[in-house]
Symmetry: C2
Subunit: 189 residues, 2 copies
């Protein structure tokens, strides 16, 4: 193990990364969305070592993102298809794609999101489903949810208080998780 | 190196992962959004080995996501602050958070996104900025952009054609990147 497991942590970001926090896993999902289902298709597209690909595919099956289907008995051959949970990962891929295009494509975008019928460019933005308001700070922030433990509550209480400068500093000084944080850095996850 | 570099690849997802495709990097960014700026704050929050943390912080500085500021000369101490590029990563974290809450929080969410004033729960959804339409398939899909090379064009041409079953199969049979993909698997990244 080159990293500790975050399975026991409450943070939903850490839990997501527990399932897909590998380069390869995310690129395998990307290729699955592009239609790849078979071992050799993933291997050819990714130029990945077979043992590594086997491990990553197994992990994605175990995490419930891909389903294995036998399509041939002799020789035994499986294909891998996105589950509903796997398909639900698309917004993460698309926000990564948009971020990559904004920051790491000096020559212009090589991959874009378009309207499937008109071909018009789409510009992805995260909004609140009900109100339609863009999810930006400080209008929105993260907060401890109903299942939060003490550690999670303390961490997010800190951020909530950070809108008030003085209170934020003293709150942070008392905070065991991120001791002595400076208000300038606080921005709410 | 336990992975090859995707720097040379066109895919904006691969390029993004080149910068943040490490568990630790993403969790460091998460903590930076929560107000962490100093080495010991990150270390305490993440329980990460110091040499690993140093490497990840340096990589995030090199990638332009964090900026290093000296805040003490004797002893020499730096703090790390999110750059504009780093702050622009928030939508990726929030889509990861929402996906984690939907799929890996059987006990209920521990971290949520809320309206900063009313405290009301927000439900993040990716939409097209101009039209406001939800970015779902098949209404939207990825396509080769203006800077795409032949490989990228061929790969995405395949997906574009996959809305038409027969054409998709023959197109895919000719496709060098993902040979013989089955139409059922194609869904557009």
């Amino acid at each position: 193990m080159r990293r500790k497991s975050f399975e026991s942590l409450q943070c939903p970001i850490a839990r997501s990364l527990e399932r897909v926090g590998e380069w390869w896993s995310i690129l395998i999902l990307r290729d699955a969305f592009l239609g790849a289902t078979r071992f050799d298709q993933f291997q050819k597209s990714l130029d990945i070592a077979p043992n590594m690909l086997t491990r990553r595919l197994n992990a994605l099956v175990d995490a419930g993102l891909l389903e294995r289907h036998r399509y041939n008995e002799r020789p035994r051959r499986d294909e891998y298809r996105l589950t509903e949970r796997g398909r639900d990962f698309r917004p993460v891929l698309w926000t990564l794609l948009a971020w990559g295009n904004r920051h790491f494509a000096p020559e212009g975008p090589s991959v874009v999101i378009v309207d499937g019928e008109s071909g018009e460019l789409a510009d992805p933005i995260l909004v609140d489903r009900r109100s339609g308001r863009p999810l930006t700070t400080p209008a929105f922030r993260t907060a401890a949810g109903p299942a939060a433990n003490e550690r999670t509550r303390s961490r997010h209480g800190m951020v909530a208080r950070s809108t008030d400068g003085a209170a934020a500093v003293s709150a942070r000084r008392r905070d065991a998780t991120l001791p002595d944080a400076t208000p300038a850095g606080a921005d709410g996850v």
